[in-house]
């Protein structure tokens, strides 16, 4: 259960790194597999193998409407100032893009998870994280996303995304994360 808290964070990194692999896996799913006999191992050779040309790989674009699409092409996290919960100017374009995406995929249900940095006490930070989650919810609703598609929760300071101690880490940990609960492709 604890693992699933950070699942989305881990997922995000993993998905970016292995999007190509997972897409390939998805596409190959319907293919039936047949039992095969193992190829004999290559006979040892004293000659150097011929040089092979280098191949570079990069992730395939995420499937539109997927959670990967949301994370990679829209962005799932906005940040806040110390002890504030008002939506910053620099967060508005991202939240506008989240709104647009949620309109395009109306079956998607999301949970906004509010987070706080470690420079506060546990209970106050739970309340502060809840305020942040609700600021994002209110923004999305004001832009036309149906309120019933959005739930909120606060993790307070319990789920940092940066383990460091310093303003850089604290800034990252003051955020609201839009997690897709269901309905994505």
């Amino acid at each position: 259960m604890v693992r699933s808290f950070t699942g989305s964070t881990v997922l995000r990194l993993a998905l970016v790194a292995t999007a190509a692999a997972s897409l390939a896996a998805c596409q190959s799913k319907p293919k039936p597999t047949y039992p095969t006999t193992a190829a004999p191992p290559p006979a040892p050779s004293t000659e150097l193998p011929p040089s092979t040309g280098s191949v570079s790989g990069q992730p395939t674009a995420p499937l539109p409407g997927s959670a990967q699409d949301f994370v990679v092409n829209v962005g799932d996290r906005v940040y806040f100032d110390t002890d504030r919960h008002d939506i910053r100017e620099d967060a508005r374009p991202l939240l506008a893009a989240q709104t647009e995406w949620l309109r395009r995929y109306p079956s998607v249900v999301v949970r906004i998870e509010g987070n706080a940095d470690e420079r506060g006490t546990r209970e106050y930070n739970l309340a502060l994280g809840a305020r942040r989650a609700n600021s994002v919810r209110d923004f999305l609703v004001s832009q036309g996303v149906t309120a019933s598609r959005i739930s909120t929760i606060s993790f307070g300071k319990e789920q940092p995304i940066d383990p460091g101690s310093g303003e850089d880490a604290w800034q990252k940990n003051r955020n609201a994360h839009t997690a897709i609960v269901s309905g994505a492709r």
């Binding site: 259960m1 604890v2 693992r3 699933s4 808290f5 950070t6 964070t9 002890d83 919960h85 949970r111 998870e113 470690e118 420079r119 506060g120 006490t121 546990r122 209970e123 106050y124 739970l126 309340a127 502060l128 809840a130 305020r131 989650a133 609700n134 600021s135 209110d138 739930s151 909120t152 929760i153 606060s154 993790f155 307070g156 319990e158 940092p160 995304i161 383990p163 460091g164 101690s165 310093g166 609960v181």
Partner: protein, 440 residues
Amino acid sequence: MIKSRVQSRDPIAALLFSLLCAITALALAHPARAEIEVNVNRGDVQPLPIAVPGFGGGQMGADISQVISANLQRSGLFRPLDPASFVEKGLTANVQPRFGDWKTINAQALVNGQVTVEGGKLRVDFRLWDVFAEQQLLGLQFTASPESWRKVAHKISDAVYERLTGEKGYFDTRVVFVAESGSRLNPVKRLAIMDQDGANPSYLTSGDSIVMTPRFSSNSQEVTYMSLRPDSSTIYILNLETARRESLGTFPGMVFAPRFSPDGGKVVFSVERGGNSDIYVMNLSSRTSTRLTTDPSIDTSGSFSPDGSRIVFNSDRAGSPQLYVMGADGSGPRRISSGSGRYTTPVWSPTGEFIAFTKQTGGEFHIGVMRADGSDERLLTSSYLDEGPTWAPNGRVLMFSRETPGGPPKLWSVDVTGRILQPMPYPGAGSDPAWSPLLN
């Protein structure tokens, strides 16, 4: 030197009082009386030299006296002497000590005892002596099952502490806390309980959800705490005897920050809805809850006064988190914190006299105390992150959690004078301690 009950109690009690009031000048100006002055040095408490030789009766006797010695030492009010310096050896509880032998090592007090195990029962006899007055101050006998030997040692510690300071002890108590493991990015938090000296730690939850902020009921039989899952939070009441766990119920938003009322019949807690956190109280027998605050600010961390008539809480209704006191029915909220900085996690002391809190100022965290009307604020600690004080049942010591940058939280304690600051004996990572009342 302790000469008699009156003279042994008054100097320490008077000194504690003067420290509490931070009137060190008075202590300095106090005319020195030869026998008393040994406890007092320029306004500081000089720990009382005390000898606790191994109780007779084999290994258990030695173990019991070690637990007593460690308790007294940690209180900061006593200085147990090195057993290697003892002149009289093999002292049992049934003979009078050779006082001269104890005077030569300047032991002001002496605790000796005898352990016998008969018919599956443990019996411990002990005596407390005023060495220089050559008088017995206390003689008691405890019987228990042999596996309860540590509890007996804590009972004896409490008896010695009370006889010599005039205040109730706090050694036969337990601490419920959150044992932490895993990494910062993937923490595992389990509810745990241990004796106040770190012994007998055991887990109460499995770690499959994040738990925080446990608190004892006044009978020490129940603990209320909050559990946080990816999509919800729940307040539980866990019965430590039966292991039965019940939820406070389902609410429209998050629930957090639970504390029992002094009579155990209610729980005050916070409910968040639409980003607004308010304080509620639930009557546990009728299961009805009442909203106590309606301000559109953060209202949380409610804590009852020991008589149950008032609640101190944390609110940022004035712009930054500050401490407020209201009636237990939510009436007449009044701000009590007045200094600069952010005040959170108020906890009313068991005596009703003080409120402990966490304060943030100047980039540091502090544990502090103030009187219930907000006067006489004193900061007892200062560090990168100190948080969440809890009172020992006699109101003399606070436990809290301390973090260094990037490090795991550890349990620490500090006395109300701020003089005796030390890590708790529990070696692991822990946070959110809550001290039990004195056990039976």
